[in-house]
């Protein structure tokens, strides 16, 4: 009798905490565990893709071929892009959504926990397969992360088939993750948490999830067409068989442009959480922010060919995509104004998450400016496929998406671990990253305008000086990310105890939970007034 009772108690207790050992991670259906898995995975991919970037920058430190041969260089640029986009940025946002969305809307977990487990565990296999192509005969994919046909079909190394399969797996994972986010937000909100009260991070993720569901099948479609061309004798992208290589670019960028917003909308959400907290003031124009995200999402489907101004579009096509692209800049600008207006007459403090958020606003805006310049079709003939473009999209992705992820990590780590971060180390990490990022990417504007094409392993002598500067910056930035890893580990292992609210100005349901957040939170739904 007593032993039965004890066993029952044990079982009950067991059901409330994590399982022990590796099984906890393999079979978990807990949104916090899966969120952590996603975040660790993306950190690992970030460091992997970063190492490749450092190899690229090391080769470009001086003119001439020093470290790697051109064929390997092309594999590095391709893998760097693919890993950073699909392995680092996207899983990091999904990880943050897993951790935060249920806690922000007062739900006990994600709506579809088993699918959640599956959508994560696909990823390590997809990326293991993609990275394994580096060791195959003929090498890894070497056609750039945009994999334009026919370089990626008729002229591709044999490993392209593995690449296609890996992309399919990532697509399945992303779509399932997106379905889960939508199901959670629409169904599991606490009583009183109406749509109009949703935190902006949740709003931005809801819209991102719809974008993902809309465009990941397009990506799957385009790689399937490649597969058919390579192995089954079709000619979608082969002019000799009646196809069209430009068709590839249309389909790819119909996926690719919304994909750009998939990588930046959740960042907008994060920044819109952090700035009000540290300005101790409500977000300016919440309604406009929500509407602007929605309109950006819809318009993002109408501007894809601005990536293709030099392929020989008819004049009317050029003008259409130029006008549409210039118009989409307006709602994006509105968001920046709103953030600035939130800071205006606030009561600001500058903890590490806030520093990253402020750097985001400034540097993302610089990336937006160069984006505006690129939208001017006649000028784009000079910018297209030069380092100016490389500078542009690294400004929106590194101090944009990546900084927002780091801001989010520093912002919510005390809630996740129960320990405050080491502010001093956090600030050192911020300043090294901030300086490093600018030294790396700002000179790329200059070499691009001066005429240096992208994706070249060696360059003419007049580009040498700025390339050396950029390489030095890249190593500063890259190595300082080890500090981030250190900060995270230190914060997990110990540190000052975090209060429930953590930050003085923080608002929202996640801050009503204890720090660290219990393994199962909101088993009883909170009531939102």
């Amino acid at each position: 009798m007593e032993s039965t009772l004890g066993q029952n108690l044990g079982d009950t207790h067991h059901a409330h905490g994590p399982a022990s050992g590796i099984g906890r991670w393999l079979f978990t259906t807990n949104h916090k565990d899966i969120g952590s898995l996603y975040l660790w995975f993306s950190l690992l991919m970030f460091l992997t893709g970063g190492t490749m970037a450092l190899l690229i920058r090391a080769e470009l430190f001086q003119p001439g071929l020093q470290l790697v041969q051109p064929e390997f260089f092309n594999q590095m640029t391709t893998m760097h892009g693919l890993i950073m986009v699909f392995g680092a940025v996207m899983p990091a946002f999904v990880g943050l959504a897993n951790w935060m969305v249920p806690m922000m809307i007062g739900a006990p977990d994600m709506a579809l926990p088993r699918m959640n487990n599956w959508s994560f565990w696909i990823l390590p296999f997809a990326f293991a397969m993609m990275i394994s192509t580096l060791f195959m005969d003929g090498g890894a994919p070497n056609f750039g992360w945009t994999f334009y046909a026919p370089l990626s079909t008729t002229y591709a190394p044999p490993s392209v088939t593995f690449f296609i399969f890996a992309i399919h797996m990532m697509g399945i994972s992303s779509i399932m993750g997106a379905i889960n986010v939508i199901a959670t937000i629409l169904n599991l909100r606490a009583p009183g948490m109406t749509m109009m009260k949703l935190p902006l991070f949740v709003w931005s993720w809801l819209i991102t999830a719809f974008l993902l569901i809309a465009v990941m099948p397009v990506l799957a479609g385009v790689v399937t067409m490649m597969l058919m061309d390579i192995h089954f004798g079709t000619s979608f992208f082969n002019a000799a068989g009646g196809g069209d290589p430009v068709l590839f670019q249309h389909v790819f960028w119909f996926f690719g442009h919304p994909e750009v917003y998939i990588m930046i909308l959740p960042a907008f959400g994060i920044i819109s959480e952090i700035i009000p907290t540290f300005a101790r003031k409500r977000l300016f124009g919440y309604a406009s922010m929500v509407y602007a995200i929605g309109s950006i999402a819809i318009l993002s489907f109408l501007v894809w060919a601005h990536h293709m101004f030099t392929v020989g579009l008819p004049l009317a096509g050029e003008l259409f995509f130029m006008f549409a692209t210039m118009l989409i800049a307006v709602p994006t600008g509105v968001k920046v104004f709103n953030w600035v207006a939130t800071m205006f007459r606030g009561s600001m403090t500058f903890e590490t998450p806030m520093l990253f958020a402020l750097a985001f606003v400034v540097l993302f805006t610089i990336g937006g400016f160069s984006g505006l310049m690129l939208a001017i079709a006649p000028a784009d003939f000079q910018y297209h496929d030069t380092y100016f473009v490389v500078a542009h999209f690294h400004y929106v992705l590194v101090p944009g998406a990546i900084f927002s992820i780091m801001a989010a990590a520093y912002y919510w780590l005390p809630k996740w671990t129960g320990h405050m971060i080491n502010e001093r180390m956090g600030k050192i990490h911020f300043w090294l990253s901030f300086v490093g990022v600018n030294i790396t990417f700002f000179p790329m504007h200059f070499v691009g305008l001066a005429g240096m094409p992208r994706r070249i392993p060696d360059y003419a002598l007049q580009f040498a000086d700025f390339n050396s500067v950029a390489s030095v910056g890249a190593f500063i930035f890259g190595l300082s990310q080890l500090l981030f890893v250190y900060n995270v580990i230190v914060c997990i292992r110990g540190g000052a105890r975090a209060t429930d609210r953590v930050w003085e100005g923080a608002h929202g349901l996640e801050w009503t939970l204890p720090s660290p957040a219990p393994y199962h939170s909101f088993s009883q739904p909170p009531v939102v007034k």
Partner: protein, 370 residues
């Protein structure tokens, strides 16, 4: 905040760098009307961005400095003002419309390629350009001429490192030249910054672009669409000559082509073929199969000791003339003349220990390459 002082030397560095002449930081001033217009558009939009940036970042830094808690700032609880929001949406809107007008006008002019004085067909190959003067019987390839030693850091790099070719495209000054761009294999992109001409060369399709070069001189550019291994090693060099010199060049080029045809009628010894074959091999084949014939495992097969280069000669000639479908092996029958084809095949069959002793004559090739 004291820490922001870190920024000062860094900003100072960025501002002072452009002062040094070698550090080109901006678009080429352009040497054609269109290029100058584009540069002007570029500068206008740049200064608009700077102005918006100064206002936005100005407000932001003013808030950061004055509205900080450590200065005792109290948060003012306003969070909406529809009028202000509409205002700051309309202003950028107006700026953009003002920007779209000159951009549209320039674009319309860029697309007007009618009434050209000279048509040049430009074909991209992995990794070289082919220039055909339509109606003038002139047709040649333009290949990177920077020596391998410079690329491999075994020799001092020249002034025009990676931006020099054996045969530049030659154009007459002051005439409207229309380019018809296409490709033989993957997508390339032909770019000369000083002309502001950048257009993709797409296999199976023909794109148009045009230029009226103003000043005689040499203009350099590069391929700007990733086209495989040697994408960074296929520069564009254009030599613009005054009309009389251009006419002279046309005449010379035509007689050189005739001399080349006559050479195919001569008898060539094995030694002569080997000597010429090595040159041809190094410019046409070594990029993939490597100068030592070892190739790149998994990507480009070795020729040294290969069944093709040491076996029956028929298949060897066939693969060089017609290429191999579905691989990077191009059909060289259309790219090289009979002498060069005979020389390179002879070279491949006798170099690197292949030692078959076979030699092929230009006449044999001419017969097979119909």
């Amino acid at each position: 905040m004291i820490k922001r002082i870190w920024l000062l030397p860094w900003i100072g560095l960025l501002v002072s760098l452009p002062a040094a002449a070698a550090w080109q930081v901006n678009l080429s001033p352009g040497s054609t009307e269109i290029a100058r217009d584009i540069r002007e558009l570029h500068m206008i939009i740049f200064w608009i961005c700077v102005a918006i940036g100064v206002v936005v970042f100005g407000v932001m830094f003013w808030s950061i400095i004055h509205h900080r808690k450590s200065r005792g700032a109290e948060a003012h609880h306003f969070h909406e003002n529809t009028f202000v929001e509409i205002l700051w949406t309309l202003i950028p809107f107006g700026i953009l419309i003002a920007m779209a007008v000159p951009a549209t006008a320039t674009l319309i002019r860029m697309y007007d390629s009618t009434e050209a004085d000279l048509d040049v067909q430009i074909t991209g190959y992995q990794w070289k350009w082919r220039y055909q003067y339509l109606g003038h019987d002139i047709d040649y390839f333009s290949v990177l001429s920077t020596p391998r030693e410079q690329i491999n850091n075994e020799a001092e790099k020249g002034e025009h490192y990676l931006l020099e070719v054996d045969n530049p495209l030659v154009l007459p000054a002051g005439k409207k030249v229309r380019f018809l761009l296409t490709s033989n294999d993957v997508i390339h992109s032909w770019w000369v910054p000083d002309f502001a001409v950048k257009k993709d060369a797409i296999p199976g399709f023909v794109n148009e672009a045009w230029v009226i070069p103003e000043e005689p001189g040499i203009y350099r550019g590069q391929c700007t669409e990733l086209c495989g291994k040697d994408h960074g090693f296929m520069p564009v060099v254009v030599e613009v000559k005054p009309q009389e010199e251009f006419d002279q060049w046309l005449a010379d080029a035509r007689s050189a082509a005739e001399a080349q045809a006559a050479a195919a009628e001569q008898d060539w010894s094995l030694e002569q073929l080997m000597e010429r074959g090595e040159q041809v091999y190094n410019s046409a084949c070594a990029a993939c199969h490597l100068p030592n014939g070892q190739g790149v495992p998994g990507a480009f097969p070795a020729l040294a000791g290969s069944p093709i280069a040491t076996g029956d000669i028929g298949p060897h000639i066939d693969i060089v003339l017609h290429g191999k479908a579905g691989t990077a092996m191009q059909a060289f029958g259309a790219q090289l003349d009979a002498v060069d084809l005979a020389a390179v095949i002879t070279y491949e069959r006798n170099a690197w220990g292949n030692d078959t002793g076979d030699s092929v004559s230009p006449q044999q090739i001419a017969e097979l390459n119909q």
